[in-house]
């Protein structure tokens, strides 16, 4: 089976399975062979499960033969960021001291994908504890970007994004509490969807900060993201994809969208122009700046992290470097005040979204992100705050947001942009993103690896 076939959208693979042009066993076997060939260059897995996947694939083929195919994910190879519990399979959250942690029950996301007939290929590498956007893991090693293995795939769902970009999975589940699905999607040239907070269950997902933790999807197309969301959230996210977009209003907050490397801003400008050509009405809006929101974000984030990780912070203090245990020193009054401020930010976002259907911004302010070294832009070295400035607000607000490719800075450096909408407006976010993707061919480029 060709590499090109493994890089086709999930929806197309599903059609080929349905037509019996390929079997799930053949698809999974080819995926295993591809993984065996390139995984040494990417380091994208913590646990790879080839034998188990083949067994599952054969079972899915038998079901299909007996007329019991369960839907579009039936027999499709998928991976899970190693924050989703898997019964009988180690679930580490990227921390080696948890390598012996073998859950007895699946996470809800794991259950739903299995119920839909997806075939689990393995558990993906990530930033330790799903923290940060560097694509680094001191316990399991750096993850590499398949477009250019000298660079990071970003994070924290870096292994998931690398696998989808390289044809090692048609869908991978990630988690996002500051941009961890959308940032790696951006620099790996795939689609990253972070739904509304709570729409996709985080039951059995290793906690980071519960009020900003989201489960999200990494796929090669927007349509695939809609297909996956239907399995994960029980809604209808595909039937509206092809509705006309003419007249839909997209807000641009010019007070926050002008920070990034020049190629990022150039691509963003071209995206805005294309959106206008497609019939969207572009409207200037104002939203809270990331600089305003960061103190509340960090207070909420670290306080909840301290609560979720307190047992390990006490029993394994050496696993929490860089002063992370200071999370346990944040006073309750600060947390409550941060939540008050969060509500006011939500009001201001609601005011902006009362005027428009969607908001657009860059996803990630940099291209070719190196491990352990952020690039320089606008005369200074970018910071973690900069890296999260476009994605973090939608975690704090709990609003749905998607990243998809809007162009290339270099032949090996995709650049994404982000569309976001009101709470539970996933169908509209997907509709707009699908309209853009259908009118462009960036998603048809794949890494040479």
């Amino acid at each position: 089976m060709s590499r090109e076939l493994l890089l086709r959208p999930l929806r197309e693979l599903s059609r080929l399975l349905d037509l019996r042009e390929i079997s799930s066993e053949e698809l999974v076997r080819a995926t295993i062979e591809r993984t065996d060939a390139i995984e040494k260059d990417l380091n994208s897995y913590i646990t790879f499960l080839p034998e188990r996947a083949l067994e599952e694939a054969r079972a899915r083929d038998r079901e299909r033969s007996s007329g019991a195919a369960r839907g579009l994910l039936h027999g499709i190879p998928v991976s899970l960021k190693d924050v989703f519990d898997t019964a009988g399979i180690a679930s580490t959250a990227g921390a080696r001291f948890l390598a012996g942690r073998v859950p007895t029950a699946d996470a809800e996301v794991t259950r739903r994908l299995a119920r839909a007939g997806a075939v689990l290929m393995g558990k993906s590498n990530l930033n330790k504890f799903a923290g940060g956007e560097s694509g680094e893991n001191p316990d399991y090693g750096d993850i590499k970007n398949p477009w250019n293995t000298s660079y990071s795939p970003s994070g924290s769902s870096g292994g998931s994004a690398a696998q989808v970009a390289a044809g090692m999975a048609a869908l991978s589940m990630g988690s996002d509490n500051g941009g961890s699905v959308r940032n790696p999607a951006c620099v790996c040239g795939v689609v990253g969807l972070k739904p509304t907070h709570g729409l996709v269950s985080t039951d059995g997902m290793f906690p980071r900060a519960y009020s900003v933790d989201h489960a999200g999807t990494l796929t090669r197309t927007v349509e695939d993201a809609a297909v996956a969301l239907e399995a994960l959230a029980n809604g209808d996210y595909t039937s509206a994809l092809d509705r006309p977009v003419k007249g839909l209003k997209i807000g641009i907050a010019k007070n926050v969208t002008r920070l990034g490397e020049p190629e990022v801003l150039r691509v963003f400008d071209s995206v805005v122009k294309k959106l206008a050509e497609l019939g969207f009405e572009l409207v200037n809006v104002e939203v809270p700046t990331p600089e305003e929101m960061m103190p509340a974000m960090y207070t909420v984030f670290f306080c909840e992290w301290g609560v979720a990780h307190e047992p390990w912070m006490r029993t394994h203090p050496e696993e929490y470097d860089g002063g992370a245990r200071a999370a346990l020193l944040i006073p309750a009054a600060d947390y409550l005040k941060a939540q008050q401020e969060r509500r006011l930010f939500q009001n201001r976002y609601a005011q902006a979204l009362a005027r428009v259907d969607l908001l657009v911004s860059p996803t990630y302010p940099m291209v070719r992100r190196e491990h352990r070294r952020l690039p320089v832009a606008a005369g200074r070295r970018l910071t973690l705050d900069d890296a999260l400035r476009y994605t973090m607000p939608y975690d704090l607000m709990g609003l749905p947001a998607i990243s998809l490719t809007g162009g290339f800075a270099h032949p090996d450096a995709p650049v994404g942009f982000q569309l976001a909408g009101g709470a539970f407006q996933e169908a509209k976010v997907l509709q707009a993103a699908h309209a853009y993707q259908s009118a462009t061919d960036w998603h048809e480029r794949h890494p040479a690896i």
């Binding site: 103190p295 960090y298 207070t299 006490r314 203090p317 002063g323 992370a324 005040k337």
Partner: protein, 80 residues
């Protein structure tokens, strides 16, 4: 009294200055005391430097960070 000063007072770590305290008040020993007293943590050797940096970088002990309101003095009104 600011919360930060209240913490220092609680700890008995230092005589409070007449004016707003600054980052210098967060000596390594103060940080270690805060970890023990407020969180029941036994500090690892050298850990106080990271904890101190965290406390300062997340702005809830350092009111003089230009352009950023410290979390401890959040103004619940929308910013203009």
């Amino acid at each position: 009294m600011r919360r930060r000063e209240a913490l220092l007072s609680l700890l008995g770590a230092t005589a409070l200055p007449a004016t707003t305290a600054t980052a210098q008040d967060l000596s390594p020993e103060t940080v270690r005391q805060m970890m023990r007293t407020l969180a029941g943590l036994d500090p690892l050797p050298g850990e106080e430097a990271g904890v101190r940096a965290f406390l300062l970088s997340y702005r809830y002990l350092h009111p003089s960070d230009p352009g950023v309101e410290p979390a401890s003095t959040f103004d619940p009104r929308p910013k203009r």
